[in-house]
């Protein structure tokens, strides 16, 4: 029995302590009760809710999902009841749970992000916020917050000012320099970063000669994106001092271990739940057994094991940062 517990907000007095590092990812686990009756939900370390927006959204027209090689595209369009109805309905249910509930928030302006954080600040049943910066900024012509370091810092700082809850900022892989974004959100006051959100993709139905998804583009998730996600985790873990939560394509223990060794203190599982929900909660037990077999008393002993400087991940000096963006052409 290795120690699997982890605190994802070590410098926040409200802390975010999980019994284990396996978290269900936003948008793939509804509001925490959908998979009940299928799996033992309470064996997870935590779950992240579907993305909540300031106003109710009915989401995109259908089709919203399609399969791609090793992955899937989704364009749900953030269907959700809006922050006010959300607060009435879900947190009261979660209050009785042992499982921490993290609320994923999405908005199109800094002010809206701050407003949602303020409303959630003292809501019982809410353990932490995950700030989804893969959202278009209406004040920047639809350019995503998460693609720009300054905009990412601004959102984080505004949310930080609005709540004392632990804040995880969820990074977008569309950013060219993911390390710079991570540094910016750390500066903005994030307690942790999670990465990656989906890559923007498209499939075309060649019979109909138009995009498969009604929204045309969608977010690419699943094993196909795992190498990108592991690489970004590896980069980010080298440049920030806050915990890193890795995700993207985890389908089993070995995938999760890749993220831990790349420097993630915890992982999230999204698409993997759709295919094999039982196997996903099973990762917790498999990890425990694996650590025992490796003679590790704590999960922390393998976090960052594949980083160039070995473990634990450390904040790099500014002149090391170019190294954190490794690129070598074919």
């Amino acid at each position: 029995m290795a120690d699997l517990s982890v605190d994802l907000a070590p410098s926040n007095p409200r802390e975010l302590r999980l019994a284990n590092p396996v978290i269900a990812a936003s948008g793939c686990f509804g509001y925490g009760q959908e998979y009940q009756g299928t799996i033992d939900v309470d064996r997870l370390g935590a779950f992240v809710s579907k993305g909540i927006t300031p106003e109710p959204r009915s989401g995109n027209p259908m089709p919203r999902i399609t399969e791609t090689p090793g992955g899937m595209l989704n364009a749900i369009g953030l269907q959700n009841p809006g922050i006010r109805a959300f607060i009435r309905k879900y947190p009261p249910v979660w209050e009785g749970w042992s499982l921490p509930a993290i609320v994923n928030i999405s908005a199109e302006s800094v002010a809206d992000f701050a407003d949602m954080a303020r409303r959630l600040d003292e809501v019982p049943g809410v353990a932490a916020l995950e700030v989804n910066i893969s959202c278009p900024n209406v004040n920047a012509g639809g350019f995503c917050f998460g693609w720009d370091a300054a905009m990412s810092r601004d959102v984080t700082a505004a949310v930080r000012a609005a709540t004392t809850l632990p804040i995880i900022v969820k990074l977008s892989p569309g950013a060219t320099d993911i390390a710079a974004i991570a540094i910016a959100v750390e500066e903005g006051g994030a307690d942790a970063v999670s990465l990656i959100n989906t890559l923007v993709g498209m499939s075309i139905d060649v019979r109909k000669r138009r995009p498969v998804l009604a929204n045309r583009t969608g977010g690419l998730s699943g094993p196909a994106i795992k190498p990108v996600a592991v690489r970004m985790t590896y980069q980010v873990a080298q440049v920030v001092g806050i915990p890193v939560v890795g995700l993207g394509g985890i389908m089993g223990l070995d995938d999760a271990l890749e993220f831990f060794m790349a420097g993630a203190s915890a992982v999230q599982v999204g698409t993997g739940f759709f295919a094999q929900p039982g196997r996903m909660v099973g990762i917790v037990d498999e990890l425990d057994a694996w650590l025992d077999a490796q003679g590790c008393a704590r999960l922390g002993e393998i976090v960052g094991a594949a980083l160039p400087n070995g473990l634990p991940p450390r904040r790099m000096r500014a002149d090391d940062i170019a190294f954190a963006i490794p690129y070598d052409p074919a």
Binding site: G27, C28, F29, G30, Y31, Q33, E34, Y35, Q36, G37, T38, I39, D40, V41, D42, K50, E55, P56, R57, S58, G59, P61, M62, P63, R64, I65, T66, E67, P69, G70, G71, M72, N74, I76, Q79, N80, P81, G82, A85, K89, Y90, V93, G96, W97, S98, L99, G222, P223, M251, T271, F273, F274, A275, Q276, P277, G278
Partner: protein, 282 residues
């Protein structure tokens, strides 16, 4: 698109402490396979004890259609029940080999083990007050209607089953159905029965039927909706259709399978796949 809706499922108040922990993911062994409807496979699959009696017509299972070490295809595929044998703890699936998932599944043989999740979704409900049931099937959409027919006959209801297919060889063989069923067919190419859409036959039975149940491709359901609008008097008979949408989770968690209804976007995996026809916004 309809109004924004609040997608809170009915059972939101189920707290974890008090829920039943009926696990819905299980291994199931194929016990027999048969060819049917031309290229389709009827797969009879052994279930863990206590599962079969819970499977209702129109519900479905999500099957992982790949080898243990393969990730292709990534997502499960939904299949409704063609038949359920509670005494022997088996279910039968009717699979048309179409794309990657279904070709894999249709190629299974006795002894192969499937990773199955279910039962999922709502189901067709023939009320006890209904005497005469009309079923309208397109292609493999016949599967849940055969299951429903079995149940209805056991309760003493009368069933007329209309089936449409592209050509005679892809119709369900009449020998698969109990003798009591009135089985009327149509084919696109006129090779057997009515030449044209199976929905053309519906008006003749609307007076007779107490309830109508349909399952088939979207164009068939859309055509049925227009037949109903034109020929039904008031709200009788009630018409329930099972819709087919691509699914990811099958449990209401991803919101990928929704259908636009008068009550907003509803999941076809939890609130559906069966909906009253007039509630669907086509």
């Amino acid at each position: 698109m309809s109004e924004s809706i609040d997608p809170v499922p009915e059972d939101v108040a189920t707290v974890r402490g008090s829920r039943a922990s009926g696990h819905r993911e299980f291994a199931a062994t194929v016990v027999a396979t048969e060819r049917e409807m031309g290229d389709c496979t009827l797969l009879t699959v052994a279930l863990p004890p206590g599962v079969a009696h819970r499977l209702r017509p129109g519900q479905f299972v999500n099957v992982l259609c790949r080898d243990a070490l393969s990730l292709d295809p990534l997502l499960r595929r939904p299949y409704s029940f063609f038949g359920v044998d509670a005494a022997n703890d088996t279910m039968t699936l009717l699979v048309r080999p179409f794309g990657r998932g279904s070709q894999w599944l249709a190629a299974r043989t006795a002894g192969d083990v499937l990773d199955v999740m279910g039962p999922l979704g709502n189901h067709f409900e023939a009320t006890s007050r209904a005497d005469r049931l009309l079923m309208v099937a397109g292609g493999v959409g016949i599967a849940p209607l055969v299951h429903l027919t079995d149940e209805a006959l056991a309760r003493g209801q009368s069933v007329t089953l209309l089936m449409g297919a592209s050509t005679a060889s892809t119709l369900l063989s009449a020998a698969r159905l109990p003798a009591e069923v009135e089985y009327v067919v149509g084919t696109d190419d006129g090779s057997q029965g009515h030449a044209g859409f199976v929905t053309d036959l519906v008006p003749d039975y609307l007076q007779w039927a107490d309830q109508v149940f349909a399952c088939g491709p979207d164009p068939m359901l859309r055509s049925l909706a227009s037949v109903i609008r034109q020929h039904r008097v008031g709200r009788r008979p009630s018409v329930h259709v099972s819709v087919e949408r691509s699914m990811a989770c099958g449990v209401g968690a991803c919101l990928g399978c929704v259908i636009d209804t008068r009550h907003g976007m509803q999941t076809s995996c939890v609130t559906g796949p069966v909906f009253p026809i007039e509630e669907i916004v086509w």
